[in-house]
Amino acid sequence: MQTQQETTSISVHLESKPRATKFQQFFRKLWGQKALLAMSLPFIIWLFIFKYVPIWGWSMAFQDFKPAKAFSEQTWVGLKHFTFLFADEAFFRVLRNTIAMSTINLILGFVTAICLALLLNELRNAMFKRVVQTISYMPHFLSWVVAASIVSYTLSLENGIINILLVKLGIVDEPILWLGIGKYFWGIIGASEVWKNLGWNTIIYLAAITMIDPEQYEAAEIDGATRLQRIRYITLPALKPTIIILLIMNLGHILESGFEPQYLLGNPMNLDYSENLDIFVLKYGISMGNFSLATAAGIFKTVVSFIFLFSANSIAKKFGQARLF
């Protein structure tokens, strides 16, 4: 079928003028694939409307945007909103919070997930392993609203289990109002993220571990390697490419410390530590109606993310490691 089509198109090629043939060939082929086109075209249009059109909205950051006016009537102001942002003390506090929380989440998330994957792999009882895995996936499926509700109850002053345990064990004299003290907020977010996503994050590492040739372990055992040595010299090196790829992908999100947990657990008392870039954009953009400034902050976030993603990728390339692209 295919070859027949090709031969006809070659004969067409020989007869017609050589300049038009490439287009003709392309459209003839496309016409032959009407069904595939019908299946994808509506969604290409959808993609452009919902994903590409909003990028046009970036122009707002360089205007004094008034929603009621048409595009041609907007006043262009150059980099005014960006200079305003970088002169704003609140913006730097927000930036500090964002970077601090995402760094804490990144490091905690990686270390805990890798450790748990290594330990799960050492469990000999397959049934027990499965049960532990199922339980550890559970919090991932809860919404952040539910998780925040559970976290804030766990940390509450009178009945929170954390305060009860700390007082019973004599570590603190009085219960602590965890969510009311700003300096604890980053730690609370880090711990909540670990609780929620620890099990889920191990999936990819466990998959990589199953790719390891069991003969390696047998050989190591014959050579008298201990359990910990086997983890250190076989399992961990085998995970290296996976770890590096995930690290690069996550570095691209360094300015995305998450939005939901901070928004849901934040309150006026921990505002100085809980407000991050996304909340800043929401506050300026939706609540105060300063669309231009909020968009400028959004652009800043995307551009920095791109720089991080590409530099992490090229560093990995330089060191001859696995990379994203």
Binding site: Q2, K29, L30, Q33, A35, L36, M39, S40, W46, L47, I49, F50, Y52, P54, I55, G57, M60, L119, N121, E122, L123, R124, A126, F128, V131, V132, Q133, T134, I135, Y137, M138, P139, F141, S143, V145, V146, S149, I150, Y153, E158, N159, I161, L177, L179, W195, I203, A207, P214, Y217, T226, R227, F259, L264, P268, M269, A294, G298, T302, F306, L309
Partner: protein, 307 residues
């Protein structure tokens, strides 16, 4: 499995045993940490509200009652939000999975001339987006604000899901497609009669991902439809309760509730209502995910390798 086989022949050293003991202990502690906060919430939701204030409820309710559930579920606005949550979950999942699978099929066909173009335009959107404000203005211009469709339309195709399904379809043997073509099947027939039935495992995974996303969403409600209480979802209702109790954190909600309970008028408290709604909002998913574990582990691995 292979690891297990080798274990049988291993002589178990003292060091090994200590390691195992520590490891099993750690795993049990981990399970407790994962489960306890949730089970504690279940206990509170099943305990008499004014008894809960006294504290000391851990894993089991002290004075068992269904009253909290009866009270919450007798609220008409809450029933409505459950209906909307269910509707967006069912409809959103069906539409999204069908459309994503369809596009995935087209970009899995090597002969499709637009294959590269379609793939790249989709994948690019993984790395940048217009951001909150431009997206909000787009929804406004499309007259989607205050409409149910704002829950469904923006999320029809998830790029990650697209890549996962494509990888799966590419794994279907070419001979099947060849013989279908020989029998005169067009692309639509091939898609509905061959690809869809064969992709059920991956479609189950993606359905779970989309359904969880839809069921758990509250931010789009907050942003786009908060003016229309008829379109509120369960998660958003819970979020409002949570925000209220956060805002009054310093002014001692428990004390207010005490006064409330002491008056003997109502026997529900903010704490017990919150616990009850938390459970209602999470139970549907918790009942489903363990059965799909095999699938989502596979799906995630497939997407992780190729994506």
């Amino acid at each position: 499995m292979k690891n297990l086989l080798t274990c049988k022949y291993r002589k178990v050293s003292l060091e090994d045993r200590i390691f195992d003991a520590c490891n099993y202990t750690f795993m049990i502690v981990l399970c407790v940490v994962m489960l306890y906060p949730f089970l504690n919430t279940v206990a509170i939701s099943l305990n008499e509200a004014n008894d809960s204030i006294k504290g000391g409820i851990f894993l089991l309710p002290r004075k068992f009652t269904w009253y909290n559930y009866e009270h919450v579920l007798s609220e008409a606005s809450l029933i409505m939000s459950v209906v909307i949550s269910t509707l967006r979950t069912v409809l959103g999942t069906l539409i999204s999975v069908l459309c994503t699978a369809m596009v995935a099929y087209t970009i899995s066909r090597k002969e499709f001339v637009l294959r590269k173009f379609v793939t790249i335009t989709f994948v690019l959107t993984m790395y940048f987006s217009g951001g909150l404000i431009p997206t909000y203005l787009l929804m406004r211009d499309l007259h989607l604000i205050g409409s149910f469709w704002v829950y469904i339309l923006p999320g029809i195709i998830g790029v990650f899901n697209l890549i996962v399904i494509r990888s799966f379809i590419e794994g279907i043997p070419d001979s099947l497609f060849e013989s279908a073509r020989m029998d005169g099947a067009g692309d639509f027939t091939t898609f509905f009669k061959i690809v869809l039935p064969l992709s059920l495992p991956v479609l189950a995974t993606i359905s779970l991902f989309v359904a969880v996303y839809q069921w758990n969403s509250w931010f789009d409600v907050f942003l786009y439809t908060s003016s229309n209480p008829n379109l509120s979802t369960l998660q958003y209702e819970l979020m409002k309760i949570l925000q209220n109790s956060n805002a009054s954190l310093s002014s001692k909600t428990a004390a207010d509730a005490f006064a409330n309970a002491g008056a003997g008028v109502s026997i529900v408290t903010p704490t017990s209502i919150r616990a009850t709604m938390t459970i209602i909002a999470s139970v549907p998913i918790i009942m489903v995910y363990p059965f799909l574990q095999k699938y989502f582990v596979k799906g995630l691995t497939l997407g992780g390798v190729k994506g």
